[in-house]
Symmetry: C2
Subunit: 107 residues, 2 copies
Amino acid sequence: MKVRPGFREEVVAILLSGADGLREAGCELYVVGVAEDDDVTIWVSEVWRSREHHSASLELPETKAAIGRAMPMLTGEFTGQEVSVVGGLGVWSAGRAGGGRPEGRTR
Amino acid sequence: MKVRPGFREEVVAILLSGADGLREAGCELYVVGVAEDDDVTIWVSEVWRSREHHSASLELPETKAAIGRAMPMLTGEFTGQEVSVVGGLGVWSAGRAGGGRPEGRTR
């Protein structure tokens, strides 16, 4: 996502402020990164237990509040890519009993 | 990255085969995902302790061997995005003593 010039730190702080609460919403991984070649781009990579967990998280009051705080500082330019996580290092195993494939997002 | 039709599972297996050894090379996170809307796209998201750790890993004999095995099955289409990781959930903290910012890559 892209922020209006000068607002990246503030948006990053908002994105990180709710990170701890994401785990109980079904988020396995949430990585906030900033582009090195500009001052306005933020990348967020997420892995969720399922697509449904991610959708439900967007309805949480704290999520909606955070989006509302950040929105005026964003330009509206978003890109995104959804994938099915098949494995790796440092992330929830796709073989876990009882679940489908975890859902990854980069945006 | 994109694979030649029919080779995605094989390339994913190669990508995952070395995942366990990446940690000692300085890799904090390595997530392999597949696109849901086609059969030929693979996404890899990585977080490295530093850019130097990542560069050094590309010189390891096992990395070179894996790249050599996978290369004939790839189309050559790659995209990539490097970021500085600033925090999140389930990933190495950027505040760790003695280190710079960890380096994130999605490709």
